[in-house]
């Protein structure tokens, strides 16, 4: 992305901006940001600034790299996995029928992370498990963000009766313990991956709706809204052209942080046995299967849990970094 756009701002949401012109320092040449620590002031667009901040944020970049890494694992699981995840190997169990620990201990690559109680290769199951986690995490969160943004912005912008109805409904949904509501819904609708995506989306949107609602309510009163109304813009036009672009940073941050939460929710449901059903390998389900073996075969618990933790950690790191980078109050910091 080019940083050199003298006197001009990139088109798109970045230019319809976070009130760049309201941020100091003002410049006669138009809305620009001054970069601190440089001898001559450079003009730089908001989008370029965000990208620059993000690149310099070491923890955010670690998060980004991990996210790419996990995505690659999910996509190439069939290539990477040494075995089929549902193959039960006769040499995958001890003569007494117990799961075996990592074969790396005696220099063999046969079962690098050991096997589970059915003699299946743990590494292969974990690699395949990345698919369920990421698909559910990403899709459920997209649904939640879409629902939350629509409900929050409509309630916030139109106000009145719609606002009361929508926000009271949000309050009610938020009073349910999240996991318990999801459990009940999944049980009613019969567990499958698609149902879980819909259910997680349906219990998680409330948080985004609250945040979006709060932002839209403050935006509603701003001068440029009034100006736009005065110029004869319709309500829907204002909502789509002026309000939604302002929500993009929020959507990006929640679109990332929310994945972390939803990966955890999926794992929790699967752990409780009301998630993705066997034989499809899911990390939460693997830990549930491992529960009766945690004393004799702790690896069955440890590795899937590490996978969950790494995934949630990666999206948390990236989301935190994005939030800092997108924060318009931190103008001076590059």
């Amino acid at each position: 992305m080019s940083d050199a756009h003298p006197g001009r701002i990139l088109p798109g949401w970045a230019s319809s901006k976070m009130e760049i012109s309201n941020l100091k320092p003002p410049s006669p040449e138009g809305p620009v940001l001054l970069a601190e620590g440089l001898s001559t002031p450079v003009q730089i667009t908001y989008r370029a600034l965000v990208w620059r901040r993000l690149k310099r944020d070491r923890t955010a970049m670690i998060g980004a790299v991990l996210v790419v890494f996990l995505t690659l694992i999910a996509v190439f699981a069939p290539v990477l996995a040494p075995h089929d995840p549902s193959d039960q190997f006769r040499d995958g169990l001890t003569p007494d029928g117990e799961p075996i620990p990592s074969t790396l201990l005696h220099g063999s690559l046969r079962f690098p992370l050991g096997t589970d109680a059915n003699g299946r290769d743990l590494l292969s199951r974990i690699l395949y498990g990345a698919r369920v986690s990421l698909i559910v995490g990403v899709l459920a969160n997209s649904l939640a963000v879409a629902l939350g943004t629509i409900i929050g912005s409509v309630a916030g912008y139109f106000g009145g009766f719609l606002e009361t109805i929508l926000m009271r409904f949000t309050d009610i949904m938020m009073a349910f313990p999240t996991l318990l509501l999801a459990m009940t819904l999944v049980a009613i609708l019969k567990p499958s991956m698609w149902i879980i995506i819909v259910v997680i989306g349906a219990v998680y949107w409330t948080w985004i709706a609250r945040v979006v609602y709060g932002q839209v309510v403050t935006l509603r009163e701003r001068e440029f809204m009034i100006a736009s109304r005065a110029l004869g813009a319709g309500r829907l036009y204002i909502l789509v052209r002026h309000i939604l672009p302002q929500l993009v940073p929020t959507i990006i941050v929640w679109g990332t942080l929310g994945i972390a939460t939803n990966v955890m929710l999926e794992a929790s449901l699967s752990y409780l046995g009301i998630g993705v059903q066997p034989p499809t390998p899911s990390w939460g389900g693997m830990i549930q299967e491992a529960q009766s073996y945690y004393r004799t075969a702790p690896w069955m618990v440890i590795f899937p849990g590490l996978a969950i933790m790494l995934t949630v950690f990666a999206f948390n790191l990236l989301g935190d970094g994005l939030r800092d980078a997108l924060d318009p109050t931190q103008v001076g910091k590059l």
């Binding site: 349910f176 313990p177 318990l180 009940t184 049980a187 529960q291 702790p298 950690f313």
Partner: protein
Amino acid sequence: MWTYLARRILQTIPVLFGISVITFVLIYYLPADPARMYAGPSATVATVARIRHELGLDQPLWVQYADYMGRVLHGDLGFSYRKQIDVTTLILTRIPYTLALICGGVFVELAIGLPVGIASAVARGRLADRLGMILALLGVSAPPFWLGLLLLYWFGYVVPIFPLGGTGTPLHLVLPALTAGLGGAAWYARMMRSSALDILSTDYVRTARAKGLSQFLVVLKHMLPNALNPIITMAGMDIPWFIGGVVLVEQVFDWPGLGRLAVEAIETVDVPLILGTVIVTALAVVISGIIIDVVQALVDPRIRHGR
């Protein structure tokens, strides 16, 4: 204060009403037939039909709802077909266990989270701060049921200090409370740190330092009371998640609380029990919300005067 409290309690009535309606409608569309469950698999069609009529299950949705709510308001949550026992009695026997777990978990959250957050803020940018925050982010990212199993393995099996599940002595509570609280502790540490950093950069803290106040007194008298405010708000938002986490912890440790009861109810499609546990936990969320708001109003006079 009392008007504030009264207003706050009145606000919860529509929420509770909404919760009961949503839950009831959801359960109404449950594919399993409660009359068949009640009668058992060997009952004849005629018997099932008679039971359906006796239970009022052949009535329209709104009649059933009005009937159910009428009884709920008298403290009667119905009868569990599966367990052949009163739902109210069953839930009442489980509440003390869940309450003990929640208290233990919240204690762990605050006792670990707040000091770590404050220490991190004071040592901003130094090694301790970075290390603390990375640990906190890992703690937030670790699934509670996994942490629980690891704690069981290390401190119950490898080094047998604590019992492997069950209840009875205070020792039984240690691992479940740790499991319920560690994730939250990490979360509070992060919140406390950022809240504390905001306060530490204010003018009045600079003034306090300039007049020669020690670091300890600045933190205790000037930072803490102000930094706690956003934390209390966060605590209110955390409740629905925390109670969800308790369900998982109870599952790991076979802890006989409400969470396990809810899971059992869902697994066995025990309709009155599902309704009962969901409504009681939602009520708990609402009540905790009120308590949090009252605490906040006590701490922050701006709120209780509605400004």
